[in-house]
């Protein structure tokens, strides 16, 4: 399995050992993000880092778990309700003059979206590399919901993120 080193900037305490141990200079960058074009995945920087800020992540991900139709169905129903709640709260936040209500409804809309994202993640869209995601993008490119659908973005994603279920 091919791995690449990534640095978590929140954990990094700038002990700079990664700079000393990397044989390719991949860790020495102006924005502190490891240059993956130079990284060979040896893992020495991750082992040397005293703050545990570097982890090795695979370049290819295994297929996501299959979901049962009945689970997807009940999750979809819940997701729609969360979406309705989000839209309603956002509309109230946009139109009210009451500062407390505006903040509360902004919080509710954000919260509903976060729960909805979590539902979609467990409802078959965990990985951007999944067959599901690719099927959806393909469908949107072929039958865009409106004429101003950002087709280029969808096509670019399909090009950048390969489908990891094609050979399974």
């Amino acid at each position: 399995m091919e791995l690449k080193a990534v640095r978590n900037l929140r954990l990094c305490t700038k002990d700079c050992l990664c700079l000393y141990v990397c044989p390719y200079g991949a860790t020495d960058t102006e924005d502190s993000i490891i240059d993956i074009s130079k990284c060979v995945g040896c893992g020495i920087c991750a082992q040397a880092c005293p703050s545990g800020a570097i982890s090795m992540v695979p370049t290819e991900y295994p297929p996501q778990q299959n979901k049962r139709d009945d689970v997807i169905s009940v999750l979809n129903h819940l997701a729609q309700s969360k979406s309705d709640g989000e839209v309603t709260a956002r509309q109230i936040a946009a139109s009210t003059d009451k500062t407390g209500l505006k903040r509360l409804m902004t919080a509710v809309a954000k919260s509903q979206r976060l729960m909805e994202e979590d539902i979609e993640r467990e409802g078959g869209f965990m990985l951007p590399q999944s067959g599901n995601t690719h099927e959806l993008l393909m469908e949107l490119i072929e039958n865009p919901p409106t004429s101003d659908f950002p087709k280029d973005a969808a096509e670019k994603i399909m090009e950048l993120v390969p489908n990891n279920e094609e050979n399974y």
């Binding site: 009945d70 689970v71 997701a79 919260s111 979206r113 994603i157």
Partner: protein, 210 residues
Amino acid sequence: MKYVCQICGYIYDEDKEAVPFEQLPDDWKCPLCGAMKSDFKAEAPAVEKAYVPTHTETADLKKLSAGQLAAVCSNLARGCEKQYKAEESKLFNELANYFTAITPAVNDATVEKVAKLLQEDIEDYPHIRDVADNGKDRGAARVCVWGEKVTRMLSSLVNRYLEEGEQMLADTDIWVCTVCGFVYIGQEPPELCPVCKVPPYKFEKIERGA
């Protein structure tokens, strides 16, 4: 008798406390998550429940609404971000913003409607949990555990706002856990998210006048 917070699971054990639960003041709050006294329930013995399948449930992936597609895409943007794929994340967010913009507005945007939808979700969770357990889907079960707690807290706060109005939020900040969506009212975020256990820096403050 023990009383359990339905939001974070905090237990008020009368054997260990000086004041019986019923005698606590009405404005008493859960010391862990800030939930209201009315969000506590007396601890009940566990009951064995039977799974009742509903046969109307069939997945139809082709029929996701614009609102759902917005969340599918913003979730995938997060997925890309976690995989350190910044460009891909940006593109998925572009799709998410498109779907958010074309999601139809609702005619009756009232706080009462927000409260009603939350209450319906609370009533929906046990059934979803049954379907998840029956399918041995622990990921979907986890969505129910987190989602039900977060939804109960939202419902509790929205109902409180309907009773108390603006004074409820006059001198306090509102915080949203950016991982699970838990909403907390207070000057500072909690030390640990009572629902998903992440540290305070994962909380976002809702800015005034934003």
